[in-house]
Every structure is written in structure tokens, then in C-alpha cells.
Point group: C2
Chain length 378, copies 2
């Protein structure tokens, strides 16, 4: 039986219990197809299969590779590529998959926000599209006043317009909940108006209003005439969480850590073998429970202990909480699923020889499954 | 013939001419074995082979995987693992390679900074070590006053002590050159004293004083009694450079870019398909010549053009300069070598269909080689 302390480091580990609790919390608020989980957060068909088993069988993807990988894994009954692409070869590869899928039904819907993206999708054999509307964040999405015209254009090309999406990413981290809710309602008001205009140009299959993320998953109040019409939420981070989302008082728990090994101890600090190449750094430094992170190098974190606690000895395992999970996971080949992770930053003392650690301190640290991060790259 | 505009994006490209110029600039200052190029910067045996052809046949590595991969590639005549490790399986894997290498001679030297790391190296069959000395940066390295005792201990275990290393990483980015030189001289004074003490405890094979990086490569003044004794510099970034080192007035040119494709254009900004998963972000946002980067998302950069230039059209290729190359390259599977890269941020207009771009604007953008990033992970 492999334990956390037996894993070569750096290694990603997932706390099965917290992951399961996060999934259950989401299912209670957004069950079944009312959530379209985002695959980009974890890039793992094994993890996605867990979400499908919990009832979420339609998925959001960020890259054609994610779309095609999900389809190959038998999870392709309703895949949305929520980003625009003008890559003809990748569009054709997705369309070809549609043509050749016989045993399992694959449906792939592609976001479009311009006549160019609509034209290329149609030319390459894509059948279903969603009109991506800019609801306030300066990124992709057609401006609201042009959404209906784009739908008309898409229909003229023979595309099936399934609805609209609008990602209010600029509102994910608004700290004040009332302020956040008001701003989300305003953004969704724009999106719902666009939907009604788009629907008037499209067929009866135009039903989707897709939006949101982990930071707004519970704001689509079923008693609110606007918010209730959002029928899909695209959250992804909720399942594993990170310290950035963790600071927002959401009902999800940190379930993903990078395990490191102490390789050097000096007077006042220690160093582990986790660094910039095993951590997404765009949200800043990672955290270690009970310790102060000084800085990260390519393959190292230098840290000291808080509250007068002694430094760990060489060989000790340390749990690092990444600030942003999406780019962290993209750096790793696998995630190891552990039945339960101790609630402390420094796991155990040891000389790194695997068997010579204080086993009683890491009770519950058994590796019970390994999920390949098999949808990486593009 | 594949051109830059034919590559699926995001894609890493290397400017062959600038790369060659960087290599030549380094060879003029630190020829042959006076440079021990760091593999961690690029993690590619194909790139390392270019440096070996230029005369640098001894290499610095950050991970056991880099060491073993270099040895397998026939580049293992003198490999230094410049980081400590307490991973018994990986130490044994390196040592086993030593035993089984018959046709080509492989030599692997491991950095140690504690009795634990020395003991594990010896127990696992490692023969050669370097005493890693802390010369001022709070990371790994034995404190200078304990270096000789550690050498004595290592010798008592049967290890061959080849010398000392001390990485003055905290001095790489000191902007004032005189101040930097004075601080480096002080740090190297410590390292040279340690070497003399270590050498007194070791055999005649104790000859190495290894230090430095791209930011200090030319500071080891041969007329200075202390600095002249540093006989190896561990620079790695110089070959490809990044915008962080590029701000330090070094004689190396930016030779690595991430190519993106414009997927969306709005009133005032455009979006390319390069983001947090194709860029190392610890040194901050990347740059685009002639443009202002607004922010990065997982798979996107939002930017506007400077000086009233028009926004690129959908399908245009854009060259992104990463702020830190090491973690950027670690996110990619390959680097494409291009004979010459145009000196502008936005390469061309096009619809993304490959052939429909303004070819004359990208003259010289032929892909002439592909270097796998084959030493990734741990």
C-alpha cells in the first residue's frame, strides 16, 4: 500500500473525502445538467468521470484537446468548447470525431463570437454553436448589441445555435456578497436579453443560457426572474479548490495539495523540492499550514515555521497549497487520490528513505487511486 | 516547409540566429569547461547538444530526471546535480546508470549540504559529490563554517569530494554593476575560503569551484585573485533569455517566444490563445512588442496596441515574450527552431487557415528544426 510519504516528490495529491464533500455541496445547489463542470480546472478524464457519476454529464472545455480527450473517454454526450478557435485542423479534428462516432453519441458545441469564428466552424463541419456574449469582462464574446445578428449569420451558414454563454469572470472574486449578486444580476440581465433576441433568430433547439463559475455558483436565485433563467453554470475549481478561491468564504474545501520533501535545513529556514515548475504562480505564492513561505525558486520553496514551532527535519513531507489550481495541475502528469489528508502542513519527520517516517502521524495517508492529467497541452 | 504561421498555437519558437549569437557571446567569455550550462532552463537534450558542440560538455542539472535523460542522450560525461535530493530511488537510479554505462563514460556528481544527504548518496552508490555552500541566499547549502567538516564526513563514507559550489542567486539581478561585482566578490571570497578548507580534507581530484549564473557570467575577473579562482559558471538562461533578464543590460538577446493566434477582437482590445498554461508567471506578465498586455487568463491574453496602431485581425499571429523562460518551457512539449523571427509583436494578418496570411511580412519565419522538451517533470 502506497502512502503519501512513499510518493516521489513533488507530487499532487487529492483528499478524497474533501473532494467528495465539494461534489456533494455542488450537487445540492446545481444538480445534473444545471452544472456544466469546467474540465480546464483539472484536465483529467478520471476526475471528470467522478463528476459524471454524480450526475453532471455535460462538460465545459477550454481546448480542442480537452474536447477530443473527453469524447474518447466516453464522456462526450454534450461537450462545450467555451473558447473560440480559428485553428482549422483542430476544428476539423473535432468535427471528424462527430462523423466517426458510432457506438457512443458525441455532441460538440463550439463558442463563436465573430463572423470569422462562425464561418470557420461551419466550413470545418461543426454543427452546434453557442453565441459567446461579452457581459462585462474584456476578453472574448460578441458585444451584446451584435449577438442577434451573429446568430442570424450562423443560422445562414447552416449552424445550429443552441443558445448563449457569457462568463462574468470579472465578478468571481468580489468580496461583498450583496455587491457581487447585484453585479451578477446586471450582467445576466444583458445575457438573458441577448438570449431572447438570439432565440428569435434560431430554432427550438436554442435553449441554453450558460454562465458563472465557482465564485458565483449559488447566485442564480430561482426566485429571481432574471437569474433563474441561467440554466447552466460552468464552475470547475470548486471540486478541488485553491487558496485564492479559498479566501472567498465559499462552502468548498481545499482538496488538492502538492507534496514536497524537505531537502535542506539551515538556521532559521528549511527548503522543500517544490517550486515554480510544480506550481501555478499567477495568483502569487503558495501557502503551507503553520509555516511562512519566504520565496519560490524553480525547484524549491524556502520557508520558516510560525509560532516558534521547530523546523522539520530533512526527509519530512510538507503539504503545499497552491494559490491557483488550474495552472498547477497543468504542470503535473498525475494526481494521487488519498483517503484522508492530515490537517497539518508538515506531515512527518523522516530521512527520505520511505519506511523510516513516523507512520502514526500520517494515519489515513493511503493512496487509493491515481488520476492521470491526460488532457494537458493544446 | 512549415512557417511560424502554420504552427498550431500556443507554440514555443526559438530564433536560431539569436540563439547562436548568445552561445557565441558566452563562448567568448566562458569557453569550454569554464561554463557548466544549466539544463533546467530549457530541459531539452537537443538544445544541450548544441551547447556541447560549442565546447561546453559538462552540464548542471536540477533534477534526477534531467541527469538521467542527459546521460541517456550521450551528454553525460560530466553531469552535476546541483540540488540536494533525499529520494533513495532516484539516487539509486542515477547510481545504477553509472554501473551499467559501458559504451559511453558517464560521470554524475551530486551536491550535498548535510550529513543526511551525504549518507544517502553514499548508501545509494553515488561516487562523486560537491559540497554545496550557502554564500548568502537563504536556500540550500551548508553554512561556510561547516563545509570542511562535511567534506571530512563525506570522505569518511568513501565519497570523492570534487570541490564546492555556491550559487549567489540573490545577486543575479542587482542593477548597479559595480555594486553587483563587489557583492559577488564578497560571496566568492567565502566560497574560495571554503574550497581551500575542503580541499585540505579531500584528495587531488578536489578542483571545482562552481558558481554564478546568467546575471553574473562575466564578473569572474581573471585578474582578481578571488574571482579568478571560480572555474565554472552555471548559467542557463543566457542561451534563450527572457524579459526579466532582458531588462538587466546583458549582452544576450531574447531568442524564445510563445506564438499565439488572435481569436477575438473587440472595440479596444484583442485576445490571443496564449495564457497561464503556456507561460511561467512568477516574474509577472509577459510582454508583446508594440502592445500593452492587460491581463492573462488560463488560455488567453487580453491586450491593446500602443501608439495608435490598429488592432490585429482574427487569425493574426502574435509573438509573446515570457517574463521567465524556465517555467515557461516546462509547460511545453517542444520548441520549434526558426531561422529568423521578425522583430515585431504582431506578425501578420490572417484568417487562421494557414495559407491566407500576408507571407511577405513573415519572411524568414521558416521552421528548420524541432527540439523536444524531453527532460520535463521530476
Amino acid at each position: 500500500m502506497t502512502r503519501i510519504v512513499d510518493l516521489p516528490t513533488p507530487a499532487l495529491i487529492v483528499d478524497r473525502q474533501k473532494f467528495a464533500a465539494n461534489v456533494a455541496t455542488m450537487v445540492a445547489v446545481r444538480p445534473g445538467l444545471t452544472l456544466r463542470p469546467h474540465v480546464k480546472a483539472h484536465k483529467s478524464t478520471a476526475l471528470a468521470a467522478q463528476l459524471a457519476a454524480a450526475g453532471h454529464t455535460a462538460f465545459t472545455c477550454a481546448t480542442p484537446r480537452e474536447v477530443i480527450g473527453m469524447a474518447h473517454a466516453g464522456l462526450g454526450s454534450d461537450l462545450l468548447l467555451a473558447n473560440e478557435t480559428v485553428d482549422v485542423q483542430r476544428l476539423r479534428a473535432m468535427a471528424q470525431f462527430l462523423d466517426t462516432s458510432s457506438s457512443n453519441t458525441v455532441r460538440i458545441t463550439v463558442a463563436i463570437d465573430s463572423e470569422t469564428t462562425a464561418t470557420l466552424a461551419a466550413e470545418c463541419g461543426i454543427k452546434d454553436v453557442l453565441i459567446d456574449v461579452n457581459v462585462g469582462m474584456p476578453r472574448c464574446g460578441v458585444s451584446p448589441e451584435r449577438a442577434a445578428a451573429l446568430a442570424t449569420f450562423a443560422v445562414s451558414l447552416g449552424l445550429n445555435v443552441r443558445g448563449v454563454m457569457g462568463y462574468e469572470g470579472h465578478l468571481m472574486a468580489v468580496a461583498d456578497r450583496d455587491e457581487q449578486c447585484n453585479k451578477v444580476r446586471a450582467a445576466m440581465g444583458v445575457l438573458v436579453r441577448c438570449f431572447d433576441e438570439v432565440r428569435a433568430q434560431s430554432g427550438n433547439d436554442c435553449t441554453i443560457i450558460s454562465a458563472g463559475g465557482t465564485g458565483t455558483f449559488d447566485l442564480y436565485d430561482p426566485s429571481d426572474p432574471v437569474l433563474a433563467r441561467v440554466n447552466e453554470v460552468q464552475a470547475g475549481s470548486y471540486a478541488l479548490m485553491d487558496s485564492h478561491y479559498g479566501s472567498l468564504n465559499l462552502p468548498f474545501q481545499q482538496a488538492l495539495y502538492v507534496v514536497g520533501t524537505v531537502i535542506s535545513v539551515s538556521d532559521g529556514w528549511a527548503v522543500i523540492d517544490v517550486g515554480l515548475k510544480s506550481l501555478g504562480m499567477d495568483h502569487g505564492n503558495p501557502t503551507i499550514d503553520g509555516a511562512s513561505v519566504w520565496f519560490c525558486s524553480d525547484e524549491h520553496i524556502t520557508f520558516s515555521m510560525k509560532d516558534g514551532r521547530p523546523l522539520p527535519s530533512i526527509g519530512s513531507r510538507v503539504l503545499v497549497q497552491p494559490a491557483h489550481i488550474d495552472p498547477t495541475i497543468a504542470l503535473h502528469e498525475v494526481m494521487h487520490v488519498v483517503d484522508q489528508i492530515p490537517m497539518i502542513g508538515v506531515l512527518s519527520s523522516g530521512t527520505g528513505t520511505g519506511g523510516q517516517v513516523a507512520g502514526e502521524k500520517v494515519a489515513g495517508g493511503q493512496v487509493i487511486d491515481t488520476w492521470p492529467v491526460n488532457l494537458r497541452h493544446w
